[in-house]
Symmetry: C2
Subunit: 427 residues, 2 copies
DNA sequence: ATGAAAGCGCTAACAA
DNA sequence: TTGTTAGCGCTTTCAT
């Protein structure tokens, strides 16, 4: 009873063919736009398809072609404005090439990430953009990449995956530049709010270099440490406060910090939601910014110019990050399509080794494409100097003779930025 | 040469079966978790699958089962924090039930929306959540819904689609409540920034009721007009300023408004990005808020409590909106699954009419499920009174004798809200 | 418990 | 130009 009874689903091509009085092959030819068909059958088929409300079944088509015109996107939280922007950009780029987006959130949960990867794999996405969580992911990703899935890492590098393209931001340099800005202003008690505070000890000895294996929060913490070192300041663990990516948690953390360490004169936030929590805490603390305490935020969101004082921030190219990842992915997918097309005759630059040890060694006895080394794109963020950072206040005690110039107690600008905002490179 | 040569793709079940020395049927049984298999073959198959890195092909599975475990989500812009939150909530709800998300942005472009719908259709999503653009979409959506695709409208009602579930917010009531708050404070020259300003003439006579056919921006404009009418104020078209959903455009629009109409004492923004543009323009204008001009924003974002004065806003339950849509969709999909399961024997509450006129009349000669009337869920937003709204200033001219009480010129609170923020219902 | 075979909806050789 | 047929990878009778 193939295709004879209606089963509730949409009409298939055989129903259209029957209605049009032609074979499924001809129906396919006109509806799929391949091969040739006479004008007569063309109209008959089109009319029938129209009447029945026919839409081709992409699943069947994909099953044959081996491609789904879909790319997977895995991030921690699409509700976070950073990823919302980045994903939007990825979408725009790949959609222009005809690809749709299968989206998954992991909430930084490795198990959720594993599940997401499995799903993407089973749904046979043509490519993958992922902001990976941890080293545990690397192995799985390598397996998938070696099995031929074009993959691009977004926002977080993975040293264990040199075969894979990685698009990131120079987080360490950005953070270093932000904190150097503070030390230059004379600050010495500089606190940082970070999701990676727990890794402090490990990061003390980490190389000061971007594009390695650290997640963004850790990379930024490394930058913080580097800037302190450069200024001859010994990092005080009490000033490295941990907070998860949650505004209220950040607010509480900063409040506690200020209570316990009233001598802190500057604060560096390593993420947009941490920044917003810190601003709230600062406002609540009654300490005036930047006179009593300076603040550098991360991620140049709209509201950072709306609050007073306007926030000095590290701006990261969120959309460009997503767009770059999308473009890289398109490249890789194109390459792969090309190589698959020519796969029957000869592998480019590689004879017809059918079952050499190399492939076996890759783990699963199947053709493990040895990929050209993955490219690393490191986009540059930069420090935007605005009004929330100013010279370090005199240490408490008897007021020194060289008093502050009068009339500048509020809304003071950072020195060297006479008007508006000032951009500072962070290379 | 079925499955014999490796074609670069992942291993199929026949390769696993061969490697395990069993038939594809048994391999399927153990790998798919259906039917029975002896412990012996089970281990053999599992071992082989493991070794080959086998992952079932979801496409083939879907082709058979007729379901993809995927729901489509179509919004205007996932980069907009409103949709980012809502989509996140949808994702969480449906993912818990095992569904993935196929995401598309339309940028309010009807053509893009049509394309997105086509794609979702061809990819055979099991359900659809959509923030529709316009009446043009309704027909297409109806076709799809009648063809059996569970569909839920998000954020924007469509009167032409009574068969479909709709989850929206009481936009008109919210806006009315916001503007009533202003009139109660004595404001009479109240401007509004809206994406729907061009529809002003049409909306003058629109019924003051939520859940009809207006898009959110229009519904809010209707609420604005209603509140003015109630207060006996004749709406001045010059105070209804248009702006697209773009922060800078909104800022320019408000700046122009204030230049041309210096007598405006209050401003109502109908969207989060418009709010942020308005705040910027206000700050730039040098007019002090709320003493010289009051402001009500829309959408309670984090930054609205960070700026000074803290913004009075209409809070809308963004996440709950998405969650409700997700839940409704799950319900519908479950219903449909149930009815499809029983379709071979008997339709529930409907004899086996095979080809009655009713189905034919639906347009395409196929089974047009006549759906139970769609449900409407209207979630309630509410006004949060904070510091950006205050009594209307005295009209300019000679200062009247009844002077302002001294010492309250800045950061004044709205009357009736002695401490913190005040919630006001908007039913 | 297992295997052979049909079939989901479509595309692609191959014949006619 | 058109129809016949095999087959994508899997599930599912139906025999055995």
């Amino acid at each position: 009873m193939r295709n004879s009874q209606r089963r509730g689903g949409p009409p298939s091509i055989v129903e259209v063919a029957r209605a049009a009085g032609v074979s499924t092959a001809t129906a396919g030819r006109v509806l799929g736009g391949y091969g040739q068909a006479s004008a007569a059958s063309r109209t008959k088929v089109e009319e029938a398809a129209q009447r029945l409300g026919y839409r081709p079944n992409g699943l069947a088509r994909s099953l044959i072609h081996g491609s789904t015109e879909t790319v997977g996107v895995i991030v921690t939280d699409i509700g976070n404005s950073f990823f919302a922007s980045a994903v939007r950009a990825v979408t725009d780029v790949v959609r222009a090439a005809g690809y749709e987006i299968l989206l998954a959130n992991t909430d930084s949960d490795p198990a959720a990430e594993q599940r997401a990867l499995t799903v993407m794999w089973e749904k046979r996405v043509d490519g993958l953009v992922i902001a990976p969580q941890g080293p545990g992911t690397a192995e799985r990703l390598r397996t998938m990449a070696e099995a031929g899935l074009p993959t691009v890492l977004l926002d977080r590098p993975l040293a264990a995956l040199p075969q894979v393209d990685q698009v990131t931001i120079n987080n360490t340099a950005c953070a270093r530049s932000a904190v150097a800005h503070l030390t230059r202003l004379g600050h010495r008690r500089i606190a940082v709010v970070s999701e990676a505070a727990r890794d402090l000890d490990r990061l003390r000895d980490a190389p000061v270099r971007d594009g390695d294996d650290e997640r963004p929060s850790a990379a930024r913490l490394v930058g913080y440490l580097a800037a302190l070192r450069r200024a001859g300041i010994d990092p005080d663990p009490a000033l490295v406060v941990h907070s998860p990516y949650d505004r209220d948690a950040a607010e509480r953390a900063v409040r506690r910090l200020l209570r316990r360490n009233p001598d802190v004169t500057a604060l560096f936030c390593t993420d947009n939601v941490l920044s917003s929590g810190a601003v709230a805490a600062l406002q609540d603390s009654g300490r005036v910014c930047p006179d009593e305490i300076s603040l550098v935020g991360f991620d140049d969101q709209d509201w950072t110019t709306l609050v007073r004082p306007r926030l000095t921030v590290v701006r990261q190219p969120r959309r460009e990050l997503g767009a770059a990842a999308g473009r890289k992915l398109l490249e890789r997918m194109a390459e792969r399509a090309r190589s698959r097309a020519g796969t029957a005759s000869a592998e480019p630059g590689d004879g017809d080794r059918t079952d050499t040890g190399a492939a076996e060694a890759a783990g699963n006895g199947r053709e493990a494409v040895d990929l050209p080394a993955g490219e690393r794109v490191v986009l540059r963020g930069r420090l935007i100097t605005r009004d929330s950072t100013g010279p370090a206040p005199r240490p408490s005690g008897p007021t020194p003779l060289a008093a502050e110039p009068s009339g500048t107690m509020s809304n003071r600008r950072a020195p060297g930025s006479p008007s508006g905002e000032d951009e500072e490179d962070s290379a």
